[in-house]
């Protein structure tokens, strides 16, 4: 018997159209990446003259780099999980004052970007010139107290910022735990500690494990901290090695591509594992009803815990900003400046540089563009994958999540090759960056919107159907208004993500398409650290202002309680 089909509808056209766009965006560059990795002929010849696996052998010449990558990633993951777990515990399970405020504030390190942290910590922790070490010596210590240009230094900075991601994931796990399970333990007579070790921990472990794998995958592909802190002492991890191989002369594009593909394979595997553990591809962190976890009254310990929260935020946010400010106001940044060392010159020069003028405007423009187009595209994709009944929606989900497994830098590689030969001249323009951002943020946007979408009861849309509303009418009158708060959140997220983007932009920037974060890096490598600090501060300030304005404007969209 033939299965029944209905005629092609607007719904299906939109669905297939969007799926095709996503597939092209993601797969087209990946093809070029693989092509470059397998190209063993003349690097300048295009298309490649010979294919083979030799480039992968080339990676084996650099065992150090693989070891470094592992060391840094593992250390950073452990630290990030520690921060995230402790903060999640404090903020969801204890009655520390200002809980809700802190939960919001935990997102700030993410906005600040690890690059800023790396710059600041370089100023703080360089073995000779670092402020902390200067203070140490002034207090009578010898040598240096900390050396930020080491594996653990890099891991520390990465963890400070990735910690907020770990926090969000682990907090979600804790919130979805039924408090009755712990209460049962306590009723039987087990003490608080015992309950935590025997009941809570085992329940939380799968979620934490999932977070660990996710964070580890992110660390593998991390770039900014290793770039700023590792390069001086020639400590390479795989991403900075790829960058170096591409930038050096003569560039070793093919080996770099092979490294990129290898990294991609590992990350893909990690993320595959992650999805298995977190139950078959559900990206909803809070499924159905969220329980109100039992809050423990910790008595006067509350204030100690409050101190811990403040300490984390200060270390991750306050300290870097203060350090940058301190350095930017000096001619040559030292811990104990003389009176003559203060200057406003750095800010003056920074304001004249391209990096401030055109890069800022470009970044803000791009942010708007990416967020707006992204929300529409990703909204449609989220609906397509999780709500429509079109076949191949599972396949589309894989395609959309692909970029998660590819480090931005590596992806940019493919993007570079892919779009350079494209007939329409977008190479070197903001359009290329726009395409790149939308592509690499597909997983982020789709995941965020899907999370909100899945919380909306299907029956709300079905009911509209039963009232006779065709697809487009339904989407306009029911789906979108219900999604609005989620869409706004996704918009803001995409906006900030595109402004802080580094890995892809650094390879794709052109003369007319400078953007903020890579230009900070350029400044770091090409000008004095004081000037860079001034630059970074100006840009952070402008972005913060933009965010405040945006949040104020969108607050009016309000949050409707969704049943």
């Amino acid at each position: 018997m033939r299965s029944a089909t209905s005629p092609i509808s607007a719904q299906q056209i939109a669905g297939y159209g969007v799926a095709a766009v996503a597939a092209i965006l993601v797969l087209y560059p990946v093809f070029f990446l693989f092509q470059a990795a397998l190209d063993v002929g003349d690097p300048q010849a295009r298309p490649p003259t010979a294919y083979g696996f030799d480039n992968f052998n080339g990676i084996l010449q650099y065992p150090r780099i693989l070891l470094n990558t592992l060391t840094v990633s593992v250390a950073a993951t452990v630290m990030a999980l520690a921060f995230g777990f402790v903060m999640a515990w404090i903020l969801t399970r204890t009655n520390v004052p200002g809980r809700h405020l802190f939960e919001q504030l935990m997102a700030v390190p993410y906005y600040l970007t690890p690059l800023l942290g790396a710059l600041a910590w370089s100023l703080l922790g360089a073995p000779e010139s670092g402020f902390i070490n200067q203070v140490w010596r002034a207090l009578g210590g010898s040598g240096h107290l900390i050396d930020i240009n080491t594996a653990y230094g890099i891991a520390w900075v990465m963890a400070l910022f990735e910690g907020s991601v770990a926090f969000v994931m682990i907090a979600a796990v804790m919130k979805s735990m039924d408090p009755a399970l712990e209460e049962a333990s306590q009723v039987i007579g087990a003490g608080r500690l015992r309950t935590m070790l025997r009941i809570t921990l085992p329940l939380v472990v799968p979620g934490v494990l999932g977070a660990a794998i996710f964070v580890f995958a992110e660390m593998l592909g991390s770039f900014a901290a290793a770039l700023v802190l590792g390069l001086p002492s020639r400590y390479y991890v795989i991403t900075t090695a790829i960058y170096q191989l591409v930038q050096q002369y003569p560039p070793k594009i093919q080996v770099a591509a092979a490294m990129g593909v290898s990294l991609f394979a590992v990350m893909f595997f990690m993320l595959f594992l992650y999805r298995r553990i977190v139950m078959a591809g559900s990206y909803v962190t809070i499924t159905g009803k969220a329980f109100r976890p039992r809050v423990t009254d910790v008595g006067p310990l509350r204030y100690v815990l409050l101190g811990v929260c403040l300490l984390y935020l200060l270390t991750a946010v306050g300290l870097p900003l203060a350090t940058l400010l301190y350095a930017s106001l000096q001619k040559i940044a030292v811990a104990f400046p003389t009176a003559g060392n203060w200057t406003l010159d750095n800010f003056r020069v920074a304001m004249t540089m391209n990096a401030v003028r055109s890069a800022l405007t470009n970044s803000l423009l791009l942010g708007f563009g990416t967020a707006t187009i992204g929300v529409v595209l990703m909204g449609l994709l989220a609906w397509l994958i999780y709500r429509s009944r079109l076949p191949a929606s599972g396949l589309i989900e894989y395609v959309v999540m692909f970029p998660q497994a590819v480090p931005r830098l590596v992806f940019a590689f493919g993007l570079m090759w892919a779009w350079v030969v494209f007939p329409i001249p977008i190479y070197g323009t903001l359009w290329l960056l726009l395409i790149a951002y939308i592509t690499v943020f597909l997983p982020l946007g789709v995941r965020t919107i899907a999370g909100v979408m899945l919380q909306i009861d299907k029956s709300l849309e079905e009911c509209a159907q039963m009232c006779g509303a065709p697809w487009a009418f339904r989407v306009r009158t029911v789906t979108i208004p219900l999604l609005a708060p989620g869409l706004v959140a996704a918009w803001l997220l995409l906006f900030i993500a595109s402004i802080r983007e580094l890995g892809a932009s650094i390879l794709l920037m052109g003369p007319h398409s400078k953007v903020i974060t890579p230009s900070i890096v350029e400044s770091w490598f090409g000008t004095s650290s004081e000037l860079t600090a001034a630059l970074a501060l100006i840009q952070t300030l402008v972005v913060a202002l933009a965010m405040i304005v945006l949040v104020a404007v969108t607050r009016r969209v309000g949050a409707h309680p969704v049943d």
Binding site: M1, R2, S3, A4, S6, Q465, M466, C467, V562
Partner: protein, 375 residues
């Protein structure tokens, strides 16, 4: 205004409004509906009744167009809206039906008025007419004063009424109900049952109603379809289903019943009744009601039809000795468990003085209440 359903000419049977023909539906390897056929007559309320997992909701949603069946046909008003063979599957929004959901599905971002007006807006009704119809509908469900309230601020019962108003405001010819009362508390449920029934009569709309609650089904339906495991067990009026269950499942599901097995004793049959002998030799007289009489018989006796007395009753047939095992006080009635030979009988009596366990009693039942079950 009291509109009664159209009474068609007696010369021809009424044409069914909805026809479900050999419907089958599987999700990923699990067969939820395994071949279900029934008709719904114009203006009647047909209830799909059964335990969870029996396929009743799936069937309802298939009629609505929210699920895609794998085989069979569905016709509404003579038009085929689904046919596996002919490759037809009309989209839900085009079938001209209406539905009330279990979770009410009230849109929180709209007011009560807007919620109810939705179906009219889809049909591009003029503003004045919308206002008129919406207010009338809200009146009918006593929610008029809530018209400008934000829908998210309503209680469960209020939301239910708004959902109802929304469902009939655009005068659909069919109303589908997916366990609409299951989220309400018992008292409210009982009240809403009556309101819904009155409304349905008033509007004369054909309804298909899904529930697992027996009382609801019996109180509200013109006919009931009892389902189990994706198949229909029995179709009939509430009275038929109650008095004449044709299987052990239906007997026990629709009210509580005792099942008695025994050998047919044709020599003891009278003109009206049949007799069977239980394994411990007791003779039970019952009625066949047209069911096939085999060598082994199973009869069903409702708990409310058994009588317990301390004095020997006057009847000639179906009087036995038994002893009380346990009495359970249930407020409006008392459930008495009686040891009767090799098995236990459960008797439901009006509230009475508790009888001490072990006490010998007489049990009796009229033969017409002993129902032979179908094969």
């Amino acid at each position: 205004m009291h509109a009664s359903p159209e009474v068609p000419a007696l010369s021809s049977p009424p044409t069914p409004h909805i026809e479900v023909d050999r419907l089958e539906l599987s999700y990923g390897g699990v067969a939820a509906v395994r071949g279900v056929s029934f008709n719904v007559l114009p203006g009647e309320q047909l209830t799909l009744l059964g335990p969870s997992g029996c396929g009743k909701t799936t069937t309802l949603r298939a009629i609505a167009g929210l699920e895609q069946p794998t085989a069979g046909e569905i016709r509404i008003d003579g038009n085929t809206v689904y046919s596996a063979e002919r490759g037809i599957n009309v989209r839900a929004e085009k079938r001209g039906l209406s539905m009330v959901f279990q979770s009410y599905a009230i849109w929180p971002h709209m007011t009560v008025f807007e919620n109810v007006a939705y179906g009219l807006r889809v049909r591009r009704t003029g503003a004045a007419e919308i206002a008129d119809k919406v207010h009338t509908a809200l009146d009918m469900v006593q929610m008029r004063s809530f018209a400008s309230r934000r829908a998210a601020q309503l209680s469960g019962g209020q939301q239910q009424r708004v959902a109802l108003a929304r469902a009939f405001v655009f005068s659909p010819s069919v109303l589908l109900f997916d366990e609409p009362l299951s989220n309400l508390d018992a008292k409210l449920r009982a009240d809403m049952r009556i309101e819904l029934r009155e409304l349905q009569h008033r509007l004369g709309i054909t309804s298909v109603y899904v529930t697992h609650d027996l009382e609801e089904a019996l109180a509200m339906s013109d006919r009931i379809v009892v389902m189990r495991d994706g198949l229909i067990e029995q179709t009939g009026t509430p009275d038929e289903i109650y008095r004449l269950p044709n299987s052990a499942f239906v007997a026990d599901f629709v009210g509580s019943a005792n099942l008695i097995q025994g050998r047919h004793r044709p020599d003891l049959d009278t003109g009206a009744s049949i007799a069977l002998e239980t394994v411990d030799g007791r003779i039970v007289h019952g009625m066949a009601y047209g069911r096939p009489v085999g060598a082994e018989l199973v009869v069903s006796v409702r708990t409310v039809h058994l009588r317990i007395s301390t004095e020997p009753p006057a009847a000639a047939q179906n009087v036995w000795h038994g002893s009380i095992r346990q009495t359970v006080f249930q407020g409006d009635f008392t459930q008495v468990h009686v040891a009767w030979g090799a098995q236990n009988l459960v008797v439901r009596c009006a509230a009475m003085e508790p009888l001490a366990p072990g006490r010998d009693v007489y049990i009796s039942v009229e033969p017409r209440h002993v129902v032979l079950l179908g094969g």
